[in-house]
Symmetry: C2
Subunit: 523 residues, 2 copies
């Protein structure tokens, strides 16, 4: 629907000059090492990449090597790194290991990077994914010195064919003083035409309505624009996106998916949803995969997804027509998924659009479309406050990602987690969340493998009882009930009853003993 008729540039698979049809850029070809030499200490460098897709694969490694050499010679070399979301070891891993980042934003998942952040060795800013581009434009992150962007190729008129993710690339290309392009011949030329780059954004007071009313609507252009005079280097790469292993659906995730499917059935029977549901947003990970697999079992047909990431599970749903169209900002496919995509690319091309994350996550569009937001969490408290980011309030896992964009503005906000983690040592339901990313005002449905709590229309105390009864693990349920019962009697105020001296004691016990259960660590 409303897809423009895109002319395919016929690219070969092998050499970079087959991908670059704008001759001026051919002269700027150089090695990754030469390109890395253009990066200077203290620069703010914006890079492509979103959930392990479309990130630059060569220059960051060469840069990390350069940093290590300089640092060994006594010359400090750190930069600020801005991306779309998480990348891969070839970017975040190597730069973290080199100690090369002052500041990283807005989302990450690399283990080495996470370790450095939580050891206090570097700074990390965790930002709503819909906010990053506008905050950059507002000037909140200062000048962007350089952008390093992976692309599939360049058209004859110098436009860029985006890669397997869009993320913030439009903004980085527009804002950066200089640009390094990585042309990756491993990325399928069939990606050309699957992107929808919206050029209607502006700074207030000049903003206009975004005229999109359905998830499958094209509102932009298939190519990224760039001022050719900004391009300082073109680097050839030939490496696949880092493969996300696609874990088989486990029992717990499957039970969570079943509770969600029962709930959706219930909502349809109650007349609040039709069997077309509303556009689905789904986080990443095993539970999200299980939920997607469950939708297929549920017999739905012709649904739409308005989400961030296309995972393997989404391809299956498109294939069996459970989902008719998926809008996202990134692919995050395993090697099997990439093979499936490439084999049936003409099928998928008609059913997928990749947009800038400013658009995929835009509050205006998420509210208008009425997305059903399905996200994971670390923990929820008995009043429905959700912690998506910080283990025991201080150790950041990945970041808030787009969960806030969708949970605040969608039709339904659903948060899912196993009721326990680490073999029962951690409860997913706690007296008080140790960090709050989604407030009591923003959470509607909580699901664990134990059951589902529907918090809509409930006061804090009503929510607490439903969450304890339906979602808590059996070994933690009496502890939660005991806390809640005593809080209702002794709390300072009884709107959101709490015993402050005790409210975070489960987390402290975990820090002290490795187990939230009293006495369990000694057993």
């Amino acid at each position: 629907m409303a897809r423009s008729n895109v002319c395919h540039t016929s690219f070969g698979r092998a050499a970079v000059h087959d991908r670059i049809h704008y001759s001026k850029f051919l002269d700027l070809r150089m090695s990754a090492e030469q390109a890395a030499d253009l990066v200077k200490p203290g620069m703010t460098v914006a890079m492509s990449g979103f959930t392990g897709a479309g990130y630059p694969k060569a220059v960051p490694g060469a840069l990390a090597a350069l940093m290590e050499k300089e640092q060994a010679a006594g010359n400090p070399f750190k930069i600020n790194v801005l991306t779309g979301a998480s990348t891969a070891p070839e970017l975040d891993g190597v730069l973290a290991r080199a100690g090369g980042m002052n500041l990283r934003l807005p989302y990450m998942s690399d283990p080495e990077l996470r370790r450095r952040i939580n050891d206090g060795e570097m700074e990390y800013m965790d930002i709503h994914l819909s906010h990053v581009a506008q905050h950059a434009w507002f000037g909140f992150y200062g000048k962007i010195d350089l952008a390093i962007i992976e692309i599939v190729g360049v058209t004859e008129d110098g436009q860029l064919i985006p890669s397997s993710s869009v993320g913030n690339n439009k903004t980085w290309l527009d804002m950066a003083d200089k640009v390094i392009l990585e042309v990756n011949t491993q990325q399928s030329p069939a990606l050309e035409g699957m992107h929808d780059i919206y050029y209607g954004t502006a700074l207030p007071p000049h903003r206009q309505p975004i005229e999109m009313t359905t998830a499958d609507q094209r509102i932009g252009e298939p190519y990224l624009r760039v001022d050719p005079s900004k391009i300082v280097a073109v680097v050839e790469t030939d490496a696949p996106d880092r493969l996300s292993p696609f874990a088989p659906v486990d029992e717990t995730s499957s039970q969570i998916a079943d509770h969600l499917l029962d709930f959706l059935d219930h909502e349809i029977r109650a007349g609040r949803l039709t069997d077309k549901l509303l556009p689905l947003q789904s986080g990443v990970g095993n539970i999200a995969n299980a939920v997607l697999a469950g939708l297929s079992r549920g017999g739905y047909k012709g649904l739409q997804a308005y989400t961030e990431v296309i995972q393997d599970g989404m391809l299956s749903l498109l294939k069996d027509e459970t989902i008719g169209f998926a809008s996202a900002t990134s692919f995050s496919l395993s090697s099997d998924g990439i093979e499936e995509f490439n084999r049936h690319v003409d099928f998928y091309r008609e059913r997928i659009l990749l947009r800038p994350q400013e658009i995929s996550n835009h509050p205006e569009l998420v509210r208008r479309l009425g997305c059903i937001a399905l996200n994971g969490m670390i923990e929820a408290d008995i009043y429905g406050n959700v912690n998506s980011t910080n283990v025991v309030g201080s150790h950041v896992m990945n970041g808030i990602g787009g969960s806030g964009d969708f949970a605040r503005n969608g039709y339904l906000s659903v948060f899912m987690s196993p009721s326990v983690a680490k073999g029962g040592k951690i409860s997913g339901i706690v007296p008080m969340a140790s960090h709050v990313d989604h407030t009591e005002h923003d959470t509607m449905i909580l699901i664990t493998e134990r059951g589902l709590a529907d918090l809509r229309g409930l006061s804090p105390k009503q929510r607490a009882q439903v969450i304890i009864d339906n979602c808590a693990a059996p070994e933690y349920r009496p502890m939660l009930q005991d806390y809640f019962d005593r809080a209702k009697v002794s709390s300072y105020g009884k709107h959101t009853p709490h015993l402050l001296g005790e409210s975070l004691s489960w987390h402290q016990r975990f820090i002290d003993t490795g187990d939230m259960r009293p006495g369990a660590a000694q057993a």
Copy 2:
């Protein structure tokens, strides 16, 4: 700009039949007591009213008397009450005192109602003001049995002239099974034509863009529609909105306003704002008044306000042309303000529009317009998490109101508070917020009379140092620094360093001793 040319129905001031030009409704006139008899136990009743304006003034009192009579006879009589925001003693006060509410939403400020909620005698749901109407339509609050709506009058074709607030009235009139109208002859007939009721909302997947690009743009109609067959009673009233005393600007509020004005100057010099700023949203209360007064001193001309409430201070700014146009959902004027408004009504009519709160607070519009969100708070923690609602994590004051709608989606989110409360016994800056309404992802600027912390582009630890240095009161600053320094060493994770056993100890100390300062209560 784009104001429609509204024909004024010529109303007299005195009798209700001069206000009702639709004869069918004249036959439905009855006393408040007769109308109250139409309310039955267990009903969900939606009422007009937003920040002390436009609430029904007679039926709630008659209903409270009926409830007390029935309860004395052993017949329980409670209802659920939905409004726009806070009302007045004549509504929330009398119904709370009668013990007549099971559940109240979405915002309140009546002392008796607050006491009942915090004593655990009734349930209260605190909801983003932009969410209420859509959640009602989504069916989250169940069926709405009855609406009680104050109006100025009825046109010849049966349309309703809205009163001094719009709030959720459109939704209540559309959704309620039956409607009681209170026609208040104290409300100025000059209000006719000052409202902009948008009838373009829909349920997803049928939603369309809201085609508004400036705060002064009319997108709707001046009247509220109602199905005449729903009207079951018309009650005449002749009472003013409860007067909000307009406190003179105190020294602390004035200092906070000065810090904000300095910051706005700084932003203009940095080229991030022009001297027209961006549309202002301002919360209610003394600090908001001081800020408004400060804008006039600042020499600004022709600003726009896209906000919730028109207070006295806003009239002054319109008068001296600091503000050229103000969009809101409600008046909240003192008796002096009402007199000023009535005296110069032709001037104000051209410069003010009142819209449904779904529109005044709509995420789509707040983001598009790029509002500067100015809101008060109870406390902020060193990482920028803001508590707007619950004293020591459990005792609700008023509610989140529209602060989340504006802070999350605006161009700038500013939160303001004195650095201490209760003569120094409470610090406005704490190690960990005891309740989180605005997360670290949503707060940009914190201001106390001590100074301003600009958190944009900063990681949690960077934010903490700026907040401690710039915003904390001198007597609490060393305590905060000590906590932060020790947390950076001993915290489990060092992204958002916390000592969980101690993080809420200030609040617990206040509960135990009445003072957050160690040893101070004994002094």
